[in-house]
């Protein structure tokens, strides 16, 4: 489990074209297209062998993502993609694990798994395409919907205080946290690239507009629509948790960029350490011998 070698057959570099999978099912203008294009671009740049790429998703519009990437992919149950990815990441250090999720999947039904994958610092990248609405089920209130948002489950406007994903991720102990906006593809590419390069649990929260059910939600952060796309101040220390929390507290549209980037051992590395410790104690014994020893103790 600690060392896995697999054969490779792709000797020449691949292009974005070869990464194209199924035709996306998203509506025209959906912000998620921009994230898919960015992902292709980054993989092409990094030339991660295709058989080592795995995209994992739960349920929702954004979570259809793996179908659109011609590499290994898993479409798991609603909200549990991070937990599934934990099983993949811990057993397969050779794989490049990316989880694609939405606000409902990651922050509502999957909230618990997000918290624990973050605190355990499981090596993976999580991209949350946050549109502040349930789109696949046609406009219900999401955990990030603003108060007053009118949906089919809140006809007179949402009354529930929304989640602030950045505050939540900081508190949970994620070691890389960034925020971006799908209308700013170069910015998305920059922070996603850093996230993929981070050794630990990295999250990119991307505001990704649902043109169908919550159009204009993020205009306030879109310079082309007269909004303000304010970058994280240059002087912000990305290892300063309290500073990151202050950035997260800013009112909408808030800041964009890397809020937090700290180094903490990953669970992957810690578990590998436990394995190495155990193995150094037992020397060269093979499984049959070790197991026989246990049974001899029961005799």
């Amino acid at each position: 489990m600690t060392t896995i070698s697999t054969p490779t057959i792709e000797l020449k570099a691949y292009t974005k074209k070869e990464l194209v999978g199924d035709q996306p099912t998203w509506c025209p203008g959906c912000g998620d297209f921009s994230i898919l294009a960015t992902y292709f671009k980054l993989l092409e740049k990094r030339q991660i062998p295709r058989e080592k790429i795995i995209s994992i998703a739960g349920i929702g519009c954004s979570s259809r993502f793996p179908y659109f990437v011609n590499a290994y992919g898993v479409h798991f149950v609603h909200g549990r993609a991070a937990a599934f990815a934990t099983g993949v990441s811990l057993t397969r250090p050779d794989l490049h694990v990316c989880v694609f999720s939405g606000d409902g999947d990651a922050y509502s039904i999957g909230g618990n798994h997000l918290t624990h994958a973050a605190r355990k610092n499981i090596k993976m990248t999580l991209v949350v395409m946050d549109n502040q609405v349930y789109g696949l089920t046609k406009k219900q209130t999401s955990p990030t919907s603003p108060i007053g948002f009118k949906s089919k489950t809140d006809l007179t406007g949402s009354v529930d205080h929304p989640i602030n994903p950045m505050k939540q991720l900081i508190a949970a102990g994620a070691t890389f946290i960034a925020r971006s906006h799908s209308h700013m593809p170069n910015h998305v590419a920059d922070v996603m690239d850093q996230a993929i390069g981070h050794d630990g649990f990295s999250v990119v929260e991307v505001l990704s507009e649902c043109t169908e059910f919550f159009p204009g939600a993020f205009d306030g952060a879109n310079p082309r629509k007269g909004g303000a796309f304010t970058l994280v101040p240059k002087e912000h220390d990305v290892t300063d948790e309290a500073g990151a929390y202050k950035l997260a507290m800013a009112d909408f549209p808030g800041y964009f960029g890397v809020f937090l980037k700290v180094n903490r051992p990953t669970k992957n590395a810690l578990e590998a350490g436990l394995i190495n410790d155990a193995k150094s104690k037992i020397g060269t014994a093979v499984p049959l011998e070790m197991l026989q020893k246990s049974f001899d103790r029961f005799a």
Partner: protein
């Protein structure tokens, strides 16, 4: 105490005159407080049973009805197959007055109350049992050297028991040395002092002593002594499992504790997940990634895992789910036994979600069914649910040392390139998929998706009506193929007769013993044990045809329509009105007498063999 060879039950035991008697087995209950270390007497007796050349079999239970201050355990020692914990106690060892009062009702008529005369005053008017008073506390203090501390009473009692039953002294001493030697010279000196004090006490003056009848065919076989959860944990390691994830829940937890400690030695790991759902999700992830994984739980957790188990059915991913059943529903009875998760194990996911369900019938079987569960999960690429229960989890049994060479398997993934035109879900006659673990190169550059959506042969979402029908049939067909390969059910007793008892899981022992007793009484009773609950083994119907009455014995409710969970399945399967149930829901394992009482209640006529 039973004399199996004579065929009589509960009568061949203790008589008034002190002498030495040869017996088949004995049930002893030790009752004290938790600080008295009486559980360790049980552990030592169980381990002695595994080692001694007299081949004493042990069956230790920690009755779940008592917790907190008072501590008890019950051990059945004997030669031959000790099938159950024993219905009634032959000897009650009472350390305190409350131990005596709370447990005296379990002592059989004519049994022996062995009490600490320093602390216990038995009712002089109760003549239903015999009393033997030994000043356990003062003699222990004396034996250890007048420290006025009574720590070590457990060892004194162990010595008494060793003397009474002519147990193997050198081996017990060696075990005490091995077990306590590390704690320092003073400790081991006190322990051995107390132990020898008990052994030296002339118990033969007060009551008869015993020796166990040797069992020829048992001699020389190496034994191991474990509880059911240990057998599951080490079975998983033998089968090659190197990743697991779970959430602590009684009575499953000790399996994950063992695996957490052991797996790193084997290059693996066991993860404590944030919740039951995450645990099964992690196991699905590792299995998908090529390392067939195990998760485990008890009833409430199985409810939570149901959705992801359905995903593994749909995505056709191997997965082993251990359910150590307890009383339900809801939080239910966390430390009691029940066989009431059969329905959820068989069908506890939405949609048509066929999976394999198997159940061990003994502690030994916990090892073998776990090995088999892993094998089946991989062979049929689907979830396998292993239904153990609280009684098996906490019971200590001596069983034959397994031939590990036969069972230790390397199941690490391989990555030979696949394709072109690789179809993970090809609609083959046996329906079995052949997944490629991520990392496997695809020669045509087209990579597969694994999904919980209904999909085509390539794994891509496909909701066409004909496709869904085809794929549902494919997933079901795998189990039909398996059912053809399963061995016929295990038969206990002659293959024809008047009454057939049909059981599953941990009730196997009491059921078999009920058959023995009924047959000794001239009743034509046999039993079959179902190891596979989904799919069912072939040949059940043929066996049933050779009997007049079929009684399904299980630890669950008779239900709205009068049949237990397996009983209901049997009725639906075979449309046979002769199928009825013997059920109970008191949270305790079946006593042999309870099975026979219900049998006689329901079938008064079976007292006469063959008469119907």
């Amino acid at each position: 105490m039973t004399e199996k060879t004579s065929g009589s039950t509960g009568v061949g035991g203790i008589t008034a005159a002190p002498n030495k008697q040869t017996i088949q087995d004995v049930v002893i209950r030790f009752a004290g407080n938790s600080q008295d270390g009486i559980q360790s007497i049980g552990g030592l007796l169980a381990r002695l049973a595994g080692r001694t050349e007299k081949d004493v079999m042990t069956y230790m239970t920690i009755p779940a009805t008592i917790s907190g201050g008072p501590s008890i355990f019950q051990v059945r020692l004997g030669t031959g197959d000790v099938l159950s914990a024993g219905d009634e106690v032959d000897i009650l060892v009472a350390f305190y007055q409350h131990s005596y009062k709370d447990n005296i009702q379990t002592l059989r008529k004519g049994g022996i109350l062995l009490y600490d005369s320093d602390n216990v005053q038995p009712d002089p008017n109760d003549k239903t049992y015999r009393t033997v008073g030994v000043p356990i506390t003062s003699r222990t203090v004396e034996a250890i050297g007048g420290t006025a501390k009574d720590k070590g009473k457990n060892m004194f009692v162990l010595g008494l028991v060793a003397r009474t039953f002519d147990l193997d002294m050198p081996k017990l001493e060696a075990m005490l040395q091995a077990g306590y030697g590390r704690k320092g010279e003073d400790v081991i000196r006190n322990i051995l002092g107390a132990f020898h004090g008990g052994y030296a006490y002339d118990i033969g003056k007060l009551m008869e002593t015993f020796e166990f009848r040797p069992q020829a065919d048992r001699a020389g076989k190496k034994k191991v002594v474990t509880d059911g959860n240990q057998a599951i944990a080490y079975g998983a390691i033998a089968a090659g499992v190197r990743f697991g994830a779970a959430y602590p829940i009684t009575p499953w937890t000790s399996v994950m504790e063992i695996l957490r400690a052991e797996l790193p030695k084997y290059g693996g790991m066991f993860v404590q997940a944030e919740d039951e759902i995450a645990a099964v999700a992690m196991a699905c992830g590792a299995s998908y990634a090529g390392h067939t994984a195990l998760t485990g739980t008890s009833g409430p957790g199985l409810s939570l895992k149901s959705e992801a188990i359905g995903w593994a059915v749909m995505a056709e991913i191997p997965l082993v789910v251990v359910d150590v059943q307890r009383g339900g529903p809801a939080t239910g009875l966390p430390t009691n036994v029940e066989q009431s998760d059969l329905n959820i194990a068989r069908s506890g996911s939405h949609g048509d979600a066929p999976r394999i369900v198997i159940a061990p019938g003994s502690v030994e079987d916990c090892f073998y069914t776990t090995v088999e569960a892993v094998k089946l999960a991989r062979e049929y690429s689907c979830p396998v649910i292993l239904l153990s229960d609280q009684a098996l989890a906490t019971r200590v049994e001596a069983w034959d040392m397994p031939d590990l060479k036969k069972h230790v398997t390397d199941i690490s993934p391989t990555f030979e390139p696949r394709g072109p035109n690789f179809k993970p879900y090809e609609n083959t006659p046996d329906g079995i998929p052949h997944h490629a673990a991520p990392g496997t190169p695809m020669v045509d550059g087209k990579y597969p998706i694994v999904t919980g959506l209904e999909h085509d042969e390539y794994g891509h979402p496909a909701s066409r009506p004909s496709n869904h029908a085809m794929m549902v049939a494919k997933r079901r067909r795998k189990l039909q193929m398996l059912s053809l390969k399963l061995p016929p059910p295990e038969m206990y007793g002659p293959p024809e007769g008047n009454v057939l008892l049909l059981g599953w899981g941990s009730s196997r022992g009491p059921i078999c013993e009920a058959v023995d007793r009924a047959r000794a009484n001239g009743e034509e009773v046999s039993a079959i044990h179902l190891r596979y609950l989904l799919p069912l083994q072939a040949g059940i119907q043929e066996i049933m045809q050779s009997f007049n009455h079929i009684l399904v014995v299980e630890l669950n409710d008779r239900g709205v329509y009068g049949y237990g969970q397996l009983g209901g399945i049997m009725r639906a399967m075979y449309c046979d009105p002769r199928i009825r149930g013997i059920n109970k829901t008191d949270g305790l394992p079946f006593k042999v007498r309870e099975i026979l009482d219900q049998l006689h209640q329901r079938l008064p006529a079976v007292n006469t063999a063959g008469m119907d």
